[in-house]
């Protein structure tokens, strides 16, 4: 167990301010990287260079995207925003003398420090940030339209080449483009479904734990019922009954994943409500709602964040599984699971069809799990080393 000292709170110390500024103006992130803050530095530098490359190589496309569909406009907005944010962050970071933060070091600050020392977890976080950026910027960077078909006679099953970096599929579509668009689906479903389930689970768990008695019994029996449905069978049934769509999948996943969170939060709240600060809050005349929302839930949030991060990974696998079975997002919308399925029959002849979406799933889920594990260690003072 090492104590976190005030010194470490100003991570890195000061690069010589003037040289740092010049460097930061050209390559934001590099000054931080040089003083050993590789996590923040690398992220900033990658975002900056990546965004500049997009602008430099494809300015015409960026211009065209202004008048394009909403996702293209969103991508342009995201591009400009990430350029501006990276530059400003690095500039401020370099110019402002990093004061030793001694007053008001919260437990979150301590957790951030512990997390930033965990190299694998930070690496995972960088991958996740990069993935979400790529997903956002897809309309600007994908080489082809995901539904664009080449010449079916000559361009089917083309291997890795300069025109098609990751080859083409059975309809002569570009695998890389489809992979990029597929990332949007997977990440969106993972994020939104988990947000829904975490919100429901946290609220219900906190109410059950704090009120107790009949309310607790009713909520937790409901949790038992939801948990006892075989999730995959439930999903397949619901999707078979209705037209499969991305919203249906998000709704079904979101509404079936919350019982785990509810149980975690209830357990936390059960122990928290015996703590004296909750009694003190009651003695100050605070309402039940205020105590639950302001005093209990923030204290129970650590394990929820960990569970949510791991949950995003699980949800992405689940969605890939559904798509693999043909029950997920329907063609021609690309999704990693359905791409793996499409390449399954031609694995020996066109290995790239299944391999790359498969790798994408593996790395994405791995990153979420690494970050989740890192958060678990960082948020639990007993596990901080």
């Amino acid at each position: 167990m090492s104590e976190v000292t005030a010194d470490e709170l100003s991570v890195g110390g000061s690069a010589s301010a003037k040289g740092g500024r010049v460097l930061s103006a050209v390559l934001p992130g590099l000054p931080q990287l040089l003083v050993g803050r590789w996590g923040a530095g690398l992220t900033a530098l990658l975002v900056w260079i990546g965004a500049l490359v997009i602008v430099a190589t494809d300015l015409g496309r960026v211009r065209a995207a202004f008048g394009g569909p909403w996702d293209a406009q969103l991508a342009v907005g995201g591009l400009l925003l990430s350029l501006a944010a990276t530059w400003l962050w690095s500039w401020r970071d370099v110019s402002r003398p990093r004061q030793h933060k001694q007053v008001g070091v919260s437990q979150w600050d301590l957790a951030v420090i512990a997390f930033s020392k965990n190299r694998t977890a930070v690496a995972g976080l960088i991958v996740i940030v990069a993935l979400y950026l790529v997903a956002l910027l897809t309309p600007l960077i994908s080489p082809y339209d995901p539904a664009f078909q080449g010449d079916l006679l000559t361009e089917r099953y083309v291997g890795l080449s300069v025109q098609h970096l990751l080859g083409t599929d059975q309809y002569a579509r570009d695998v890389l483009s489809r992979l990029l668009y597929g990332a949007r689906i997977s990440l969106l479903i993972g994020f939104v479904a988990v947000s829904i389930s975490v919100t429901i689970g946290t609220l219900l768990g906190a109410i059950a734990g704090f009120i107790g008695g009949f309310v607790d019994g009713a909520i937790m029996r409901f949790v038992d019922i939801v948990i006892s449905f075989p999730r995959l069978v439930l999903l397949i049934t619901i999707i078979a009954l209705f037209q499969p769509s991305i919203f249906l999948i998000i709704a079904v996943l979101g509404l079936t994943l919350w019982p785990g969170t509810a149980r975690i939060v209830r357990g936390e709240v059960l122990s928290l409500r015996e703590r004296e600060f909750v009694q003190a809050a009651t003695a100050l005349g605070y309402s039940k709602t205020r105590i639950i929302l302001r005093h209990l839930i923030p204290n129970a949030l650590g394990p929820v964040i960990v569970a949510a991060t791991l949950g995003v990974g699980n949800t992405i696998v689940l969605e890939a599984g559904l798509s693999f079975l043909g029950l997920g997002v329907q063609p021609p919308t690309p999704s990693w699971g359905s791409m793996v399925a499409a390449g399954r029959n031609v694995l020996l002849n066109a290995w790239w069809l299944s391999t790359f979406p498969g790798l994408a799933i593996v790395f994405t889920v791995l990153s979420f799990n690494l970050v989740g594990d890192g958060l678990r260690d960082a948020l639990d003072p007993r596990l901080r080393s």
Binding site: S106, F277, A281, L284, G285, H295
Partner: protein, 328 residues
């Protein structure tokens, strides 16, 4: 020493708080009565498990129901208003505003995720309708008043950055924030070391005078009682066994239990003397003894003790003891 004209600020009559558990009915508080005048300090003393804390929590209606239940016939009047059976919203309006409470364990009585200033500020904004800025100014003033150095900086500290004594001061500041008429202090110094204890007691005493509030002090420490209280209620096994002024309790303790507590205090006059202790422990609250509840541990027990004991007046209404031997 205190002004006891008119109706008392707090009047507890025949309070019985029972816990209905799987092991049986625990009669944690079993017929307790006492009065507390405005501006007065009343100490409730007794060993662990004799019902002090349950009494104080019953006043504010803070006990979880079930298993706890304040039984029929109990009465807690605050400023003439009956609190037993009062609606939750009415109690909520009283808590923090009119009656505040500080707790034993300063380590866990502050919320770890908020800055201490925000926690005091929350009470101010909620009860006194202040805006963020006014609440911050007032918070700094309160922190200063309870003797926290550099309040303008401490206001932005998190609880884990403060020492136990500092946290207890923060708790007191929070309890004072709405100028309550009654402050219930449940073992406020037990978890602190001796030097800090003295400071906190001194602080409570001076705040009581400057704010003119009444204090109900729960403690097992007769030394604390001697220092700050006007009157004392000694509790044993869920009952009041003796009441009196501090001078009376210390000079002429009437009940054997009170004498036992006093004998277990270290004495300045005879420093070499071995401290006396009361043999045994408080009996199980689900099975109080039939007769005198103290009999099994009493050095003076004998014939006449196996029947239930009543409180016997020793001169005044508020000078009583629960032992047949004191009868004039």
């Amino acid at each position: 020493m205190s002004d006891r004209t008119g109706t008392p600020l707090l009047s507890v009559r025949d309070l019985r708080t029972w816990f209905f558990t799987d092991q049986g009915v625990a009669k944690a508080v079993d017929g307790v009565s006492f009065d507390l005048a405005a501006g007065e300090t009343l100490g409730i003393v007794g060993e662990s498990g004799c019902g002090k804390t349950v009494t104080s929590l019953s006043v504010l209606g803070l006990l979880p129901r079930p298993p706890a239940r304040v039984m029929e016939g109990s009465s807690v009047r605050f400023g003439g208003e009956e609190l037993v059976g009062a609606s939750e919203s009415r109690l909520r309006a009283l808590r923090g505003n009119e009656i505040s409470m500080i707790f034993q364990e300063p380590m866990s009585s502050l919320n770890p995720v908020y800055k201490v200033g925000d926690q005091i500020g929350e009470a101010l904004r909620l009860h006194r309708g202040m805006n963020r800025k006014a609440a911050r100014t007032e918070t700094i003033r309160l922190l200063d008043e309870v003797g926290i150095p550099e309040p303008a900086q401490r206001v932005d500290e998190y609880p884990h950055q403060l020492s136990g004594g500092m946290r207890q001061r923060v708790m007191i500041a929070m309890a004072l924030s709405c100028e309550p008429q009654l402050l219930i202090a449940d073992e406020p110094t037990t978890a602190l070391d001796v030097t800090i204890q003295a400071q906190i007691l001194e602080l409570l005493g001076s705040l009581r005078e400057s704010h003119g509030m009444a204090v109900l002090l729960i403690t097992h420490d007769l030394g604390v009682v001697a220092e700050v209280c006007d009157r004392v209620v000694v509790m044993y096994a869920g009952q009041v066994v003796e009441k009196g002024t501090v001078q009376e309790i210390f000079a002429e303790p009437a009940h054997p239990y009170t004498r036992g507590l006093l004998a277990s205090l270290p004495s300045v006059d005879n420093p070499g003397l071995r401290l006396a202790s009361i043999p045994g422990t408080v009996p199980n609250p689900t099975r109080w003894p039939e007769g005198c509840r103290f009999m099994a541990r009493c050095s003076e027990a004998g014939e006449g003790c196996e029947v239930p004991q009543a409180l016997i007046r020793l001169g005044r209404d508020d000078r009583v003891a629960r032992c047949w031997r004191v009868a004039p």
